[in-house]
């Protein structure tokens, strides 16, 4: 009994400690200027105000960055799902010359960290005139081997007889992909979609490099810039953090199950 009580109090205390930064962030974001810079720290705004959010959206036009983040994350996710599912299906069920070699080359490219490819990628996109446009974010996010790999594994488990049967009925290749493969692959597609959405939303280094105008920035980049100017405004910065974090928390809470499953799938792939 004592053991149990100890265990629970430990769990509760550490959970609260883990969440404290968020609790303080939310509290401070509703405070007037200067109210968060007190000792000892307070968590409840008194009086409560939306001033910081007003400044953020009206004076600093953060809605523009919010829109950029939302738009880019959504577009990238839709395209990513389309391309990885096609490629994954092709690698699982089609026979073509060089398939094994190509797949292995792609797999081994997984070890290359994205930072290493950023310089050449930047020059490539620059020569195409895409730097500081949405395309600079969309193109590199179109597909990756991780997604192709997971979808391939998933498609391999789909029985060939199902595809054969559809073909007998006169379905074209694309119809088979649309009507047979996609519906079966929905769970894995949802998992990859949430990874892609959160990944694009949270990404920092690449948008920092590829986008150069205030109006093009995604939220994290805009926020980082804001930080350099408003180091002494914790309340304002907390409001900015809330605006950036809340959407990802909502997406995560809604699709938790798929996200957790994705982590586990990723870990058994070795």
């Amino acid at each position: 009994m004592i053991k149990k009580a100890l265990l629970y109090s430990f769990l509760i205390i550490t959970s609260i400690l883990t969440l404290i930064p968020f609790i303080w962030m939310i509290g401070a974001s509703f405070m007037f200027d200067g109210k968060a810079s007190v000792f000892p720290p307070i968590f409840l705004p008194d009086p409560f105000t939306l001033t910081q959010y007003q400044i953020l959206f009206e004076r600093l036009s953060v809605w523009r960055n919010f829109f950029n983040s939302l738009f880019l994350s959504t577009i990238v996710t839709l395209l990513y799902i389309t391309f990885t599912s096609m490629a994954g299906y092709a690698f699982a069920k089609y026979r073509f010359a060089g398939k094994k070699v190509l797949f292995n080359v792609l797999l081994s490219s997984m070890i290359i960290p994205s930072q290493v490819t950023m310089l050449p990628l930047f020059l490539l996109l620059k020569s195409m005139g895409f730097i500081n446009t949405y395309m600079a974010i969309i193109i590199p996010g179109l597909a990756n081997i991780f997604g192709i790999f997971l979808i391939r594994q998933y498609c391999i488990s789909i029985p060939d007889s199902l595809i054969e049967a559809a073909r007998m009925d006169g379905a074209t290749d694309f119809q088979i992909y649309r009507k047979v493969i996609l519906p079966l692959a929905i769970p894995i597609l949802v998992t990859l979609a949430i990874f892609s959405f959160l990944g694009t939303w949270n990404d920092f280094l690449w948008p920092l490099i590829a986008l150069t105008d205030d109006s093009m920035y995604t939220l994290p980049v805009a926020l980082a810039n804001l930080m350099l100017e408003h180091t002494k405004d914790p309340e304002l910065m907390m409001a900015g953090s809330v605006v950036t974090i809340i959407p990802v928390i909502i997406v995560f809470l809604a699709l938790q199950k798929y996200y957790i499953k994705g982590i586990m799938m990723g870990s058994v792939k070795e």
Binding site: T18, P220, M238
Partner: protein, 259 residues
């Protein structure tokens, strides 16, 4: 690219790029700032990765215990930092580490410790960033550990109990060996992930004070995209890649030998 003097002029006119052979690499190995960045990065990885693994294993063991109910809630609160935006949480933590008003110093003041200027002191800046990074990412490894723990067959523990093994003995001779493959996998991805740290120092300290938190990726970014020394930056990128590859090979070797 790392063998050229690619710079801001070359960006305008590609004909200006000259082949410089190994010059970038010679310069790199003679560059004290690069070694500082490398040293900081290793410091970060070597402390943060094991710490993160121990914390996440601890959390996984607790949440896997049969005594605990409401597991989902605890798991969720440990996990939330993982999905949140690194830039935003780094900003929050900047204020948490505030020397005068920060929560950390407040908690320390309760047990009688004088305020510390966490991010402004060369000795504490890195530990402060490490603590934040472990907080941000241990939930991810925790999930993988929980999956690993659930794969250990129950009858192993039962057999050990019958033979009178204590909790610690069971942990040492069943749990740890059975988790070895999971642990190797986790240490690999954690180390690679931590090796690439960038946003934390960029937001919290700008690499300072006195470059004590400058990371390799940050240095690469500065050289490449701030000063536009892209040829030089490419040589940093290549050395960076080389180190990660060596690390991966070593870990895979360990993995092979344990199987």
């Amino acid at each position: 690219m790392s063998f050229t003097d690619f710079d801001i002029y070359a960006l305008g006119d590609l004909n200006l790029v000259r082949f410089v052979g190994l010059n970038n690499y010679l310069k790199l190995f003679d560059d004290p700032l690069f070694f500082t960045a490398l040293q900081n990065t290793f410091y970060f990885v070597i402390v943060a990765a094991p710490l993160s693994i121990v914390v996440s294993l601890g959390a996984a063991l607790l949440l896997n215990s049969k005594l605990v109910k409401f597991k989902a809630i605890f798991r969720l609160s440990y996990f939330i930092p993982v999905v949140t935006t690194l830039v935003a949480v780094a900003i929050v933590w900047r204020f948490i580490y505030h020397p005068k008003f920060g929560i950390i110093n407040y908690i320390l003041s309760l047990i009688g410790i004088a305020p510390i200027d966490w991010l402004g002191d060369t000795t504490t800046a890195m530990p402060a960033i490490i603590l934040m990074s472990v907080w941000k990412s241990f939930g991810y490894n925790m999930i993988i550990f929980i999956a690993g723990l659930q794969n250990i067959p129950e009858d192993l523990y039962e057999a050990a109990s019958i033979e009178g093994a204590s909790g610690w003995q069971k942990f040492k001779s069943i749990t740890l060996p059975m988790l070895a493959p999971t642990t190797i996998f986790i240490s690999l991805i954690t180390m690679i992930g931590y090796f690439q740290f960038f946003a934390e120092p960029y937001i919290m300290t700008q690499g300072g004070p006195l470059n004590s938190t400058l990371s390799v990726v940050q240095y690469m970014y500065q050289e490449g995209f701030k000063w536009w020394n892209m040829g030089y930056s490419a040589s940093i990128a290549f050395v960076f890649f080389f180190i990660i590859m060596i690390g991966t090979l070593i870990q895979l070797k360990i993995q092979k030998s344990t199987e």
